[in-house]
C-alpha cells in the first residue's frame, strides 16, 4: 500500500534523474575561448539553465501530486506491449534483412495481434501496403531505399 502511495512520485523522480544527468553531461562539454563566445553564453549554459527550470517545475508538479493525488494509470493491454515488441522486431529485420521485409512482417503480425482473424486479410494488407508505398516513393518521389536482401535484387 505504501509502495502504491509513493508510486505517483515515480514520474517526477525519473524526470528529475534525467534532468540531473543532462546537467552532469553538460558540465563535461568543452568550453569555447573567450574571443569566440564574447559576452554571450557557453554551449553548456543553455541546457543547464533549461534543466534547472525543469527541476523547479518538477518540484511544483510533485507538490501538486502531494495535494491532489493523480488518478492511477491503468496497465496496458498486451496489444500495446506487443506493438512495442514489434517495433524491436522491425529494427532487427531492417538491419539484418531488408526494410520491406520488416514492414511486411510487422504489418502482418500487428494485424493479427490487434484482432484480425482472417489471415488472408492480414497477408493482403501486409503485401499491398508496402508494395503501393514502394511504387509511390520509388517511381513518383524518386527516393532510394536502404539496401537489403530485396533492395539488392531490385537495384542490382
Amino acid at each position: 500500500m505504501k509502495y502504491m502511495k509513493n508510486k505517483i512520485y515515480l514520474i517526477p523522480l525519473i524526470l528529475a534523474i534525467f534532468s540531473l544527468s543532462v546537467i552532469a553531461i553538460s558540465l563535461q562539454l568543452d568550453t569555447s575561448p573567450e574571443m569566440i563566445v564574447g559576452d554571450s553564453m557557453q554551449a553548456r549554459s543553455f541546457p543547464i539553465f533549461l534543466m534547472i527550470l525543469k527541476l523547479f517545475l518538477l518540484g511544483i508538479l510533485t507538490y501538486q501530486f502531494y495535494k491532489n493525488k493523480p488518478k492511477a494509470v491503468s496497465l496496458e493491454k498486451y496489444h500495446t506491449w506487443g506493438s512495442m515488441l514489434l517495433f524491436l522486431l522491425f529494427y532487427l529485420l531492417t538491419v539484418y534483412t531488408d526494410m520491406f521485409i520488416g514492414i511486411f512482417v510487422v504489418i502482418f503480425l500487428m494485424s493479427i495481434l490487434w484482432g484480425e482473424k482472417r489471415l488472408w486479410v492480414a497477408f493482403l494488407t501486409a503485401t499491398v501496403t508496402p508494395g503501393l508505398v514502394f511504387l509511390l516513393f520509388d517511381f513518383v518521389l524518386k527516393i532510394r531505399f536502404p539496401r537489403g536482401i530485396l533492395m539488392n535484387l531490385y537495384y542490382g
Binding site: D39, L50, L57, F90, S111, V140, K142
Partner: protein
C-alpha cells in the same frame, strides 16, 4: 500590393493542377478527419514527406488543406458515432450526437458544415489582412524582441488544452532541450551527440513529429482495439432552414471572432477555440436548457470556432515563425523545408506565394463544404475501417515517411523512439504538442538570447529596456502567473 495579392489568390482558381491537388487532399483530409485518432496533426505529419518533391506552394497548400478539411471532418464522426474524429470536434459531440439520436443527424451535419465553412473563410480573410499588417510590425523586431516573443510563445504552452499547465511547460522545456542536440551554432561544440555524427546538424523535426504524433497515437489506439462503434443512421445532409439561420447567425459570427483570436495566440489551437466557442454560445443563448440535448447553437458555436482557428493559427506561423498549434508546427516545418522562411521576408520577397497559399486555403474551405453536404454519409462509413487494418498501414506510412525525409535509417529509429516516448508521456497526462512546439522554438530562443547578450555586452537585464520585448515578457509572466494571482485575489475577496 493589394492587386498582387488578389491576382495571386485568383491564380489558384485557374491552376488545374493545384485545384486537382486541393480536391484530392480535401478528400484525404476528410477521410483522415473522420478516422478516430488520426486527425489533422497526424495526417499532416504523415503527409509531409510526400510533399518533399513538390513545388513549395503546392506542398504548403497540401498541408494547409489537410489542416482545414480534417478539422472540419472531425465533426462528422462526432455527430454520427459520438466519437470526435479530431480533438477539435470534441465540443461538437455535446449537442451533435444528441441531435442525431433524435433522428436529425442530417440537420446537425448541415449546421456543422455551414458553420465550419463560414468560420474557415472568415479566418482566411482575416489572415489575408492581418498577416501583412503584423509582418510590418514584426519588421521592427530584433533579437531581444524575438527572444521575448518566443518566451511568450513557450509560456502559452501552459494553457494548451490537454495536460496541465506544469506538465505542458515541462514538455515544452524538454522540446527546447531537444533542439540543443547537435553542434552549437556559434561555437560548433557538440552537445549530446554521443559520437553520432548524423546528429551534427541537430534532430530534424520530421521524424520526431512522425514519432510524437503518428506512432504514439498508434500505441494509444492499441488500447482501444475492442471498442465497438455504433453509428446513427442518416438519410442525407440537410441545409439549415431560415429559422435555423435566424437562431445561429449571431453564434456563428461570435465564434468566428473567438476562433480566429484564439488561433492567433501562439501555441493555442482549434480545440481550445471550439471549447470556448461552445461555452460562449451557451452563455449568450436564450435557450440554455437545450444545450447538451441537441442545441443547434451549440453545434454552430463549436464548429465555427474550430475552423476559424485554422486561419488564425496560420498568422503567427507565417509571420513570426511561431506555430499556433501542433498542425501549424508541421506546416512551419514544411515552409522551412521548402525554403519559405517564415517572417517579414516572406511577406516582402515572396508575397505571391503567400497569397497563393491563402487562396488554396480558401478553395479548400469551399471544397470541404461541398463534400460535407453531398458525401458526409459516405465518408462516415470510412470511420468503420477496422483498427487492425488501419493502424498497421499507419505504421508503414510512418516508417517510410521518416526514412524518406533524409534517406537515413537513423530517422526511422528516432521516429520509433519518440513514438514510445510520446506514448508514455501521454499515458501520464503529458501532451506531446508542447514537445513539438518547444523543439521548433528552441533554436529561436537560444540564438536570439545569444544575439541579445552580445548586443548588450552580456548585460541580460537590458533586454527589459526594449519596450516590445518588455511587453512580451510581461504577457508571458501574466500567462504563467495570472491564473494563480487572480485565484488568490478572488480567495482574498471571498
Amino acid at each position: 500590393m493589394f492587386e498582387q495579392a488578389i491576382s495571386a489568390m485568383a491564380s489558384v482558381m485557374v491552376d488545374p493542377y493545384l485545384l486537382g491537388l486541393i480536391f484530392a487532399t480535401t478528400v484525404l483530409g476528410v477521410i483522415i478527419g473522420v478516422l478516430p485518432g488520426l486527425g489533422a496533426t497526424t495526417g499532416a505529419a504523415l503527409l509531409l514527406p510526400f510533399t518533399l518533391t513538390m513545388d513549395p506552394v503546392h506542398a504548403i497548400a497540401v498541408l494547409a488543406t489537410i489542416y482545414v478539411s480534417a478539422t472540419f471532418a472531425g465533426s462528422i464522426t462526432a455527430i454520427l458515432i459520438n466519437t470526435p474524429g479530431t480533438s477539435a470536434a470534441a465540443a461538437t459531440t455535446f449537442d451533435g450526437y444528441p441531435l442525431a439520436q433524435k433522428g436529425e443527424a442530417g440537420r446537425a451535419l448541415g449546421i456543422a458544415v455551414i458553420s465550419s465553412t463560414v468560420g474557415g473563410i472568415f479566418s482566411v480573410l482575416i489572415l489575408c489582412f492581418a498577416a501583412p499588417l503584423l509582418a510590418r510590425v514584426a519588421y521592427e523586431f530584433r533579437s531581444p524582441e524575438y527572444f521575448a516573443l518566443t518566451v511568450f510563445g513557450l509560456s502559452m504552452l501552459a494553457s494548451i488544452s490537454a495536460g496541465g499547465a506544469v506538465k505542458n511547460l515541462i514538455g515544452g522545456i524538454f522540446g527546447v532541450w531537444l533542439s540543443t542536440i547537435g553542434a552549437e551554432r556559434v561555437t560548433g561544440i557538440e552537445r549530446f551527440m554521443f559520437g553520432n555524427y548524423e546528429l551534427y546538424e541537430g534532430l530534424h523535426f520530421v521524424p520526431i513529429f512522425i514519432g510524437l504524433f503518428a506512432i504514439s497515437e498508434l500505441l494509444v489506439q492499441s488500447k482501444t482495439v475492442d471498442k465497438i462503434i455504433k453509428t446513427v443512421s442518416m438519410k442525407a445532409v440537410k441545409l439549415p432552414t431560415k429559422e435555423d439561420y435566424k437562431k445561429i447567425w449571431k453564434t456563428i459570427l461570435r465564434s468566428c471572432g473567438i476562433g480566429t483570436f484564439i488561433g492567433v495566440l501562439p501555441a493555442e489551437g482549434a480545440t481550445v477555440a471550439s471549447m470556448i466557442g461552445y461555452s460562449e454560445a451557451r452563455r449568450w443563448s436564450k435557450n440554455k436548457k437545450e444545450f447538451g440535448k441537441g442545441s443547434i447553437e451549440g453545434i454552430a458555436g463549436a464548429e465555427a470556432a474550430n475552423n476559424a482557428a485554422t486561419g488564425g493559427a496560420m498568422v503567427p506561423t507565417m509571420v513570426l515563425g511561431i506555430p499556433g498549434s501542433g498542425t501549424t508546427a508541421i506546416i512551419l516545418v514544411g515552409l522551412m523545408v521548402h525554403g519559405l522562411r517564415p517572417g517579414v521576408y516572406l511577406f516582402t520577397e515572396q508575397v505571391e506565394k503567400v497569397y497563393q497559399i491563402f487562396g488554396s486555403m480558401f478553395v479548400a474551405n469551399v471544397m470541404f463544404m461541398l463534400m460535407g453536404l453531398y458525401a458526409a454519409k459516405l465518408f462516415a462509413r470510412v470511420s468503420l475501417v477496422p483498427t487492425q487494418i488501419l493502424w498497421p498501414i499507419v505504421f508503414a506510412l510512418s516508417v517510410i515517411g521518416a526514412y524518406a525525409f533524409q534517406g537515413q535509417l537513423l530517422d526511422v529509429w528516432l521516429a520509433l523512439i519518440f513514438g514510445v516516448i510520446g506514448f508514455f508521456a501521454r499515458r501520464h497526462g503529458f501532451s506531446v504538442a508542447p514537445i513539438a512546439v518547444g523543439l521548433i522554438l528552441g533554436e529561436m530562443v537560444e540564438t536570439n538570447l545569444q544575439h541579445s547578450l552580445k548586443m548588450f555586452d552580456g548585460q541580460w537585464w537590458l533586454i527589459l529596456t526594449q519596450p516590445l520585448a518588455l511587453m512580451f515578457l510581461i504577457f508571458a509572466f501574466l500567462g504563467l502567473c495570472g491564473p494563480v494571482i487572480f485565484s488568490w485575489i478572488t480567495k482574498q475577496k471571498d
